[in-house]
């Protein structure tokens, strides 16, 4: 029997931890491809040049935008965890769960800035 816990979640702190976890997993999945492309600089320069020529394609730029947004989300929610753990709490519910929105807004702003610069 699986007892339901669905309504114990859904608060802002929960979504911050989920955002941190999922962005981290997505970035971890990207890193092997990143290193693979970097290795072409040593092993196969022609292939690397071919790949880099794709960098101007719109789809590629959207992919880069996704990476930037994931990085900002992961960084912002990681800083949130550091603040939770290292900065003494004034009281139990001192509003630091609102830091979630700082991370979300930062990701949106930097994402928009990146898109405007990219095109």
């Amino acid at each position: 029997m699986a007892i339901s816990n669905k309504n114990a979640r859904g608060h802002t702190s929960y979504w911050a931890s989920i955002g941190h976890r999922l962005s981290g997993l997505a970035l971890a999945a990207f890193i092997p491809f990143h290193f693979l492309v970097l290795s072409l600089a040593v092993n196969d320069r022609t292939s690397l040049d071919g790949l880099l020529s794709l960098a101007d394609q719109p789809l590629f730029k959207i992919g880069e935008w996704g990476l930037v947004v994931l990085l900002v989300i992961h960084m912002a929610f990681g800083i949130r965890v550091l603040i939770l753990e290292l900065v003494p709490w004034r009281h139990g519910k001192d509003g630091r769960t609102n830091l979630v929105w700082v991370g979300v807004i930062a990701a949106i702003m930097i994402g928009i800035y990146f898109l405007v610069r990219a095109f």
Binding site: N7, L86, P88
Partner: protein, 239 residues
């Protein structure tokens, strides 16, 4: 009088069972515990559940109501019923004994594993210790001492669900009150236990415990306080 449709988990210790539906009168002032009691007294005498004080002090009557652990004696039906229906299950993360009753043995054993036993520095023959309310450590301890041991936070915690060895928010909250208690003789020992295997470092900072705590405590604050204290202890700063 309109009726309320109540789905209650009926099961045994082998986690076998099913939901049974009861129709009870919907009254103006009615808590979840009132409804469960009415079902047991009027319709199904074999229904097992646990309660004692009925006023939010003893922490006995917690159950999962519509997918969230709650203290049922202080939860008004109108606050949780959806379209005249409620679903009541036992608490999560603990073995079910029967129906809505859980075996809380492991929950309380974890309090001991986290160093929850108080060892004092004085005897009853000594004068009573002076604890100024202005003392910062006392304020930190005071923030966590009103826990009623209801296990709502333990049930809401996903980390306990993933790692059955994790001590859980209530036990670590208790440890936090002791490491800040100037009267405790074993503060370093408590800290060592709280930061040991499956201790405070296993917390994923989801905050379900704080969001669910019926008396408004913040186990998150306590757990993160222990993490900070463990770092300071590692760096050679005494507690």
């Amino acid at each position: 009088m309109t009726t309320l449709r109540v789905k209650i988990w009926r099961g045994n210790e082998n986690e076998e069972g099913e939901f049974q539906t009861f129709d009870v009168p919907a009254r103006e002032n009615q808590t979840i515990l009132d409804v469960v009691t009415e079902v047991q007294r009027v319709q199904e005498p074999g229904l097992s559940y646990r309660f004692a004080c009925r006023v939010g002090v003893c922490g006995s009557c917690a159950m999962t109501v519509n997918g969230k652990p709650r203290w049922t004696c202080r939860t008004h039906i109108n606050a949780v019923a959806k379209d005249g229906e409620i679903t009541i299950e036992p608490l999560r993360n603990m073995p079910v004994i029967k129906d809505l009753t859980c075996d809380m043995t492991e929950f309380f054993q974890k309090w001991q594993k986290a160093g929850g036993k108080f060892d004092g520095t004085i005897t009853r023959k000594d004068p009573v210790a002076t604890l100024p309310p202005s003392d910062l450590k006392r304020q930190k301890a005071d923030a966590g001492i009103e826990c009623i041991n209801c296990a709502v936070c333990y049930s809401a915690c996903d980390t306990v669900n993933w790692d059955s060895d994790y001590l859980g928010p209530a036990a670590l909250n208790r440890a936090w009150t002791l490491v800040n208690d100037e009267r405790a003789a074993n503060r370093q020992e408590v800290l060592d236990k709280a930061i040991g295997d499956s201790g405070c470092s296993s917390c994923h900072s989801q905050g379900n415990c704080t969001a669910a705590c019926p008396v408004g405590l913040s186990p998150s604050q306590s757990i993160h306080g222990l993490k900070r204290m463990s770092l300071l202890s590692f760096l050679g700063k005494g507690i």
